[in-house]
């Protein structure tokens, strides 16, 4: 026990002495947490639209007006024909082309039916998708209006089902509320797994581990002494992140803080186990960096930070279920947005703990004092 306390004292002393690393560890996550949610926004604005109006009628004018009035679109210009409009897309001036055929109004009145043509530049997938969707809904709405205005309400009264929806737990679909907890988790993920791995590899590179290995120090004491400082650092950074979320985005966890912190400790146990495992397989910083970067990249992209895990294919869902961050992101969202209790999140918590137990056991077995 005395040895452990002394080990911890040494670790904290070394940590505090590395001023550059310390300030980086604290400032960098804060900057990311403040900047990323602002930039990573899914509501697409400023979609450039080019219009080929071959009709020049009142109806077509009204339609164009409705599109530009929605706020999501910016009218880049009118083109005389489709090829001119395509040129605007090629020059990257337009993302969407809306072509209104000649005699649009006339045919609409006569045949009660007509078509417009929509061409979407799909190089930026999200923008194209959402832009197309927005435009389609605007046109549908426009369609309804025409029906109401033109068709005699008394004679053609089709029954309609109107779906009214409410967004629970995030009524205004505030994107920040959704993304801040996830970014916080991904920051904790990188710092805990990477820094603990680097710290142990550092001892390998400087040769100090040789001195430790020829001492009677027990390996579990040594490992515990390595992990506790990063557990403390992780808790500190998480707290800092919560405060930043509150200060900059006004996010206050709906659920109990202790539920959040219990989950955090379990999660850190798991991710530090991963870091430890990485360190047992790496002999240099470069190896440790490459290995941890591989895992953290996959974690950040696949664990549901930006995209929903539920919409992934079956095999991916199974794979993601063994990624600790996917569970912890769910937990933070459930607790922060929905106010879930410890019982509600117990399944995810158990999953994280189980993965952590496997990773830590593996790492300890693979850590040898003798070559």
């Amino acid at each position: 026990m005395r040895t452990l306390i002394f080990l911890l004292e040494k670790e904290f002393r070394q940590m505090m002495r590395n001023k550059q690393l310390m300030s980086l560890l604290i400032i960098a996550p804060l900057i990311q947490l403040i900047l990323l949610p602002l930039a990573a926004n899914y509501s697409v604005k400023n979609i450039n639209i080019a219009i080929v109006d071959n009709d020049h009628s009142t109806i077509s004018q009204r339609m164009i007006h409705k599109i530009t009035a929605s706020g999501n679109f910016r009218l880049t210009g009118y083109a005389n024909n489709y090829n001119d409009a395509l040129k605007m897309v090629e020059e990257d001036k337009a993302d969407l082309i809306l072509q209104i055929p000649a005699n649009f109004e006339k045919n609409l009145v006569r045949e009660n039916h007509n078509q417009v043509y929509l061409a979407i530049n799909a190089i930026e997938g999200t923008k194209a998708n959402l832009g197309g969707g927005y435009l389609a809904s605007i046109l549908r709405d426009f369609n309804e209006n025409i029906r109401v205005n033109w068709v005699n309400p008394g004679t053609n009264n089709t029954p309609q089902v109107v779906v009214a929806s409410t967004n629970w737990y995030n009524p205004y679909m505030n994107y920040h509320l959704y993304i801040v907890p996830a970014i916080l988790v991904s920051l904790i993920t990188s710092i805990s797994a990477m820094q603990s791995a680097f710290n142990i590899v550092q001892e390998k590179e400087s040769g100090t581990i040789e001195q430790i290995n020829v001492s009677p120090i027990r390996k579990h004491i040594f490992i515990t002494g390595k992990l506790i400082p990063f557990l403390v650092l992780g808790i500190f950074l998480f707290t800092l992140g919560l405060l930043a979320g509150w200060l900059f985005y006004g996010i206050v966890p709906v659920g109990k803080l202790y539920v959040l912190y219990i989950s955090l400790v379990v999660y850190l146990f798991t991710m530090l186990g991963l870091g430890l495992l990485i360190s047992t397989y790496s002999n240099s910083h470069q190896q440790a960096l490459s290995l941890s970067f591989f895992f953290i990249n996959i974690f950040n992209i696949m664990s549901g930070t930006f995209n929903s895990v539920d919409s992934m294919p079956g095999w991916a869902k199974t794979l993601v279920s063994v990624f600790p961050p996917s569970h912890f992101i769910r937990i933070t969202r459930m607790v922060m947005l929905k106010g879930s209790s410890l019982a509600d999140i117990s399944g995810h918590l158990a999953a994280i703990f189980l993965i952590g137990l496997i990773l830590n056991t593996w790492a300890v077995l693979n850590y040898h004092k003798t070559a």
Partner: protein, 302 residues
């Protein structure tokens, strides 16, 4: 016996490289035993096996009657090891390092201060300095203190003075002599011949094998031929001419002179004459006693 090694073999790369090939030797209590040999001779592997950091493929080794495999815990408690490269915490101060190593061996600086006193006094003025900021000699003194702080019965020093200035090297060896007086057994490797002669016994290693084990005096005395030293201002030219001489056994530059031996007994005059016939007049030739380095070069050649 404080150290006994019998038939130790260690291979790397699935048995293709023999780092240590069937080595046996014994070291007595209070002895300074030197390991000499070119790089790659297997000295560091041997140190790592004896300090339980590496497992041998076959053979047995004991330190203070503790088996390196079965009693590894006792060995880790009872020996001091100074690896070839500086391996203390560079970001901790001198005092913090010493304190740290005392603690992980479950002791205190005060308890064994008498052992390190002479050495520590030399670095004490810098006790608040980070270890990484010390000079080479200071670092080695600190490393020795850290290896000694738990009062080990055997010290393993792997090239402790490599890269250290000659004054510090001398001071370092003075300390080893004092430790020897306290009956601490020392196994040390060194590339410096002036240090080798300070050992009680030497083992010359090459390619994982021990070529000879003896006292420095006997190794020197075992030199089989008469050695001549040739001094000249045209070392390179004379060296080539001597190598072309039909009777030359060996010939190499040694400091500011040339050391040369011949297959048949000869004298200074014959050599001088041969060289002056070649146009080299401004030189001296004399019979000399071989140094330990001459003996080693001779043995490594065979």
């Amino acid at each position: 016996m404080m150290i006994s090694v019998s038939h130790i073999t260690k291979t790397y790369n699935k048995g293709t490289i023999h780092a240590i090939n069937d080595i046996s030797f014994e070291v007595e209590k209070g002895e300074i035993f030197g390991l000499i040999g070119p790089d790659g001779a297997g000295k560091t592997s041997l140190f790592r096996i004896l300090t339980t950091l590496l497992l041998a493929d076959s053979g047995e080794a004991k330190v203070n009657d503790w088996d390196v495999v079965k009693d590894y815990k006792k060995i880790r408690n009872g020996v001091g090891y100074m690896p070839g490269r500086f391996s203390l915490y560079q970001d901790l101060s001198v005092e913090e390092n010493l304190n740290f190593f005392a603690t992980i061996f479950d002791t205190t600086i005060e308890e064994n201060y008498h052992l390190i006193k002479d050495i520590y006094e030399q670095i004490e003025p810098f006790k608040d300095r980070r270890a990484g900021k010390l000079s080479g000699g200071m670092k080695q003194k600190l490393a020795l203190c850290c290896a000694l702080i738990h009062k080990p019965v055997v010290l393993f020093l792997d090239e402790p003075t490599t890269g250290v200035d000659s004054v510090s090297r001398k001071e370092f060896w003075d300390m080893l002599m004092k430790l020897k007086a306290q009956e601490i057994t020392i196994l040390v490797s060194t590339p410096y011949m002036d240090e080798a002669v300070l050992c009680d016994r030497l083992a010359l290693m090459q390619e994982g094998k021990i070529l000879t084990i003896d006292t420095p005096e006997k190794i020197r005395a075992s030199y089989p031929l008469q050695l001549f030293a040739v001094k000249t201002n045209h070392t390179y030219k004379v060296l080539n001419e001597l190598r072309n001489y039909k009777d030359t056994e060996s010939c190499f530059a040694f400091g500011d002179s040339i050391h040369v031996t011949f297959k048949t007994p000869t004298d200074e005059k014959t050599i001088s004459k041969y060289l002056s016939d070649k146009g080299d007049t401004d030189l001296t030739v004399e019979k000399i006693e071989p140094t330990i380095e001459d003996s080693f070069i001779q043995m490594l050649k065979n």
